[in-house]
Symmetry: C2
Subunit: 725 residues, 2 copies
Amino acid sequence: MEVEEIVGKAKTEMRSALTEAESKQILARYGIPTVEESAALTPEEATQMADELGYPVVLKGLGSKLMHKTEQGLVRLNLSNGAEVMEAAKFIRKAAGDDLEGYLVQKMIEGHREFVAGVFQDAQFGPVIMFGLGGIFTEAIADVSFCIAPLEENHAWQMIDELKSRKLLGAFRGESAADTNKLLKVLMGLSRLSMEHPEIKEVDINPLIISPDGNVTAVDALIVLGENGLAHERETLSGDEIELRAAEIRSAIDAMVYAQSVAVIGATEARQGQYPGIFSCMRNFGFPGRIYPINPYIDAIDGLKTYPDLVSLPERVDLVIVSVPRTLVPGALRDCIASGNRNVHIFTSGFKETGEKEGVELQQEIEKIACEGGLRIVGPNCMGFYVPASRMLTWLKASTKSGPVSLISQSGGNAQDFTHYTSSKYGIHFSKVVSYGNALTLDSTDFLDYLDHDEETKIIAMYLEGVKDGRLLLKLARKVNSRKPIIMLKGGLTESGARAASSHTGSMAGGMKVWNAFSRQSGVVLVESVEQMAGVTLAFHHLGKISGRRVAVLGVGGGMGVAIADACARVGLELPALSAETVKKLRNIISPAGTMIRNPVDAYEAFQNLNLIGKTLDVLSANGEIDNIVIWMHLDWLYIYKVGGAYLEEIARYLISEGRKHVRDKSLVVVWKQYEPNPEISKWISVVEKILLSGGIPVYEDFSNAASALSKLAEYSGWLKLYRN
Amino acid sequence: MEVEEIVGKAKTEMRSALTEAESKQILARYGIPTVEESAALTPEEATQMADELGYPVVLKGLGSKLMHKTEQGLVRLNLSNGAEVMEAAKFIRKAAGDDLEGYLVQKMIEGHREFVAGVFQDAQFGPVIMFGLGGIFTEAIADVSFCIAPLEENHAWQMIDELKSRKLLGAFRGESAADTNKLLKVLMGLSRLSMEHPEIKEVDINPLIISPDGNVTAVDALIVLGENGLAHERETLSGDEIELRAAEIRSAIDAMVYAQSVAVIGATEARQGQYPGIFSCMRNFGFPGRIYPINPYIDAIDGLKTYPDLVSLPERVDLVIVSVPRTLVPGALRDCIASGNRNVHIFTSGFKETGEKEGVELQQEIEKIACEGGLRIVGPNCMGFYVPASRMLTWLKASTKSGPVSLISQSGGNAQDFTHYTSSKYGIHFSKVVSYGNALTLDSTDFLDYLDHDEETKIIAMYLEGVKDGRLLLKLARKVNSRKPIIMLKGGLTESGARAASSHTGSMAGGMKVWNAFSRQSGVVLVESVEQMAGVTLAFHHLGKISGRRVAVLGVGGGMGVAIADACARVGLELPALSAETVKKLRNIISPAGTMIRNPVDAYEAFQNLNLIGKTLDVLSANGEIDNIVIWMHLDWLYIYKVGGAYLEEIARYLISEGRKHVRDKSLVVVWKQYEPNPEISKWISVVEKILLSGGIPVYEDFSNAASALSKLAEYSGWLKLYRN
């Protein structure tokens, strides 16, 4: 039977699950190696089929009402002749009683190495392929890896590689390595099946046995029917229509981002000691376009004439900002539609994110209005846009400089914190920042597509709690990421974080393993905090790509060796021991007794005489033993050796002029650390940082921050290499 | 046969490993349930024994030269009658050939759940008990837990609890839960065996099978003879003699710590732009006692008459500091012995830590001199003492205030960084600080014992790379820790860190799993960085113990909910959802629409009116739902709400006066965060911190630092409860 027939039959019989035999028939159609088997109705027929298959065999009782077959004794293994089959069949008949519908006779597959493979549905990403350790260990050990369908071959290899139990797939205790071709067939087959049959919700192959000769066989399998999360992908739109719609959305976002005219519904005078309101924030930031306060209760705000509604405005505007109590939002949206204004930012909160009935229903109401009216909505429950070039800002203060980074943030708080931090600490500025909250109509995917086409954006940072269409996000992110690195802070990866996310922007947050699969497949760099996102952005901004994970550290200070080695190891960077030849060359530069040459290089003497730093960098970068050089400035110690912060400035100036030349194609990073908050030293820190940043050298406080940034950069560079091959 | 006889026989036969049968005989003596079995010489005898044991049985070929029995087909499972045994025995005879010495007939033990248990030797901690998932998964999954012998029952439970595969030990897939009493017998038996028989180096039980009925059986076992690291514990000293020796060492350390007279061998004039030397440092810090510079080449230093050697001094001194080139150290030590000076700090480096022949040999030489002369040596390769009360300091600058914390640090650099950081950032000062480097004669255990008896020391911090006698450290730390918390930074836990540690102080660093066992057994709190050690010290200092892991957060700021929830979950703190009753009470305090009441509590309004903070704290602390309260001050936001840093000071003052009363017995912690480095805000940070610290409220920058400190405190409190029961 064909897949459609089997599924159709089950549906007719109102079954949500296929039988074991049906399930394996379908798997076989998708190239998945399954155990040889036949169904029989009587003990006699079973015996005959066993004779045909060849011994030893397994005999199972069949019946749609039979559950927990093993526990009930309805599965008999290793039967070695006809008499044993006959006896087993009789036993099964007795044990199963009236529920018995027949027998399944299978070739007995030997093998201790049991795995599982399957498909399940993720609320955001649809079908996910699963592979892991099986047998009785499946639940207990939970050694599984995921990949979002559709799978490509290199994803399948990565899945296998991620398992701790992957050793079992190699040659193991006298048994042959698993037939990798067949393993691949299993995973790729599951992927194709899940993509081609959206009516299949779950597939569970357990066990998938690796025989001593390395053969791979699906011995038992279960397919469950249902909704599989691909429904929306089967829209009737053509590729051209989809692109047309995307182009429309991009052009709407462009109009908002570069708005010449803005209306603020619910504009008020600024109040002291409180958030002054969006209208004031836009004016404070120097928005140069036409701005219309909408407020039926007063005549003028801040010297500007107010209007009672949008319909009364002299023009259609590029952006309407809605900042009224939540119960008035539906009316405001209707006003938008009536006046022909389609681009809207809803600042107001109190919707789905409350988790309460009233808010959820109100969101449903405005969603309906927005969809019917064809509105492009940013929000609700968000801060909207910060675009320095357009002088658009909805909060109190931000840099007016433009830069190469754009940010898509579900949270307004994080948008403010991240932009403040990145601008003021690292001197990196922004092109477009959007906070979009509950994502009523415009979601992260729309903004990502927009930024992909935006020439000013070179690096994309994202703060995400959830996404409506995970599959689209994956597809888009993968494409964009190969041109512009995407750095993502995913909130709600832990269970309690997910609960918090749901009450922050009403998002489903999704499990950590699925998001790790997302990162592996898309190359998107996942980070754990706003600060780390800023630090990684800094590394991408100044270094771009790096060639590998090997680090040499050049510094001065007690105890640094052990701590730095541990910090590198924690994030997967290597701190290779230097070769004898390199050590010898370094000895010629750094001479004093008692100073050992290892990695980190204790360069006490070099820091007394800057030219020696250059010579040391020459040796380190010439030897092909490392990819990155970190200069470790323990400020307390440097200050002791050559009293006066001016010397710290000298070092920084040397590094951006001479130092950079000596590292050749290696990446150069500076780390400073101050344990004693001596204000005499502290005041030089920002001087040193500014010089280094102006010279394109990333500078971090604390080694672990630099290590995490380099490690993420290496991860991205590795993905890019794989992606391009 | 008794254990001694079996071991003796093997030794006579020059075997380093016992046979399977011998191994199991010994295990059985120690109460470990082993499979029933007998040895046979001929196939006929094997058949007869199988009849006696009852079928099914397992038949194995025996022979001291037979390796990889399974792969060679010398193990035949599940034989169900005499004929099968006979046939199997003949097959084995053929396969093994001349190496066959006999047969082992065992009752066939059924069970899918295979574990391993055993004993191995750690270089620092001696016998370690191991328990983990077995069968073919042992290597592949590496799900094992360790405990340093001797085991106590609660350790055994913790070992079991730490396994990811512990689910397999419960009722599982229709099989009964493992007989916990028997499991305990296995682990406790291994512990006793390893303690009572130092000639046993390794024990490997694999598999330990859990049968469907829950029975526990050691099916195969191997015992290897050798040195087991307990040798030094079998010294001939009596308990009284050991205590007498410890008392002598304590009194020597006491003399050094409170030295009235110090001689510095190798004293020189301070040089500009360099470390000025120990003599100058001691003088600069205001050492009030008699200080003698020893230097045969000059007459006076800094106005003080020099002496050519110790013998010329007018008195014996409390402490001799040796600061001469390494080749002169042996002579300096002989001078100590000749002059009757026994308490010595060797500052000089260039010994074992170099890893080079010359240094290693020089260390052996001075060790010999020191032992023969009965010297008490701190060092070499270290900074020695910092004792504010005695005005002793060997580096440039430190607080002159005394405090409740003492530090034992193998690294001089870390001693400086940690004390600088803790004193100046958290206002916590030190009683005794010792940096002891290569630990020639005095090791961490000696200093720990001293601090245990030191009434001024309330909290002990340690930076350790390695330890000579891990078992003594465990014993001591466990005892001390129940009275004075020990916070330990263990350097070299990663592989490359261990390599670095070996070249820093010449220490063997040991594996992470063993040190985790050490922490679990001793209750010593392990931290990962100098900064974390300071943060945890702060929590211990102000909070002491805490009642649990449940945290409520009261704050203001966007996006904090998700990030805080994720940060708590990462370190194992709980952020419980508040009960409906509590939410209702909070609603009466914090009213405005749009502000949701959840945990974290978004207390925008409370921060506008400080009395509301008190009321909120009342509700949170009264409900029995939480153990700790964190006040989250997002400075950028607070500054917006009520412009002016003076208001931040007001909040801090309110918290230390009123606020503290409202939290009752809950612990209160404050966290601040500033993303926009607005200098107008920044200048208030140290003001706020000082106020809070003076009022006994720990204050941290960044939530994750507070979370890690609370989590470590909870870990300690949990251990203490267990320890006292």
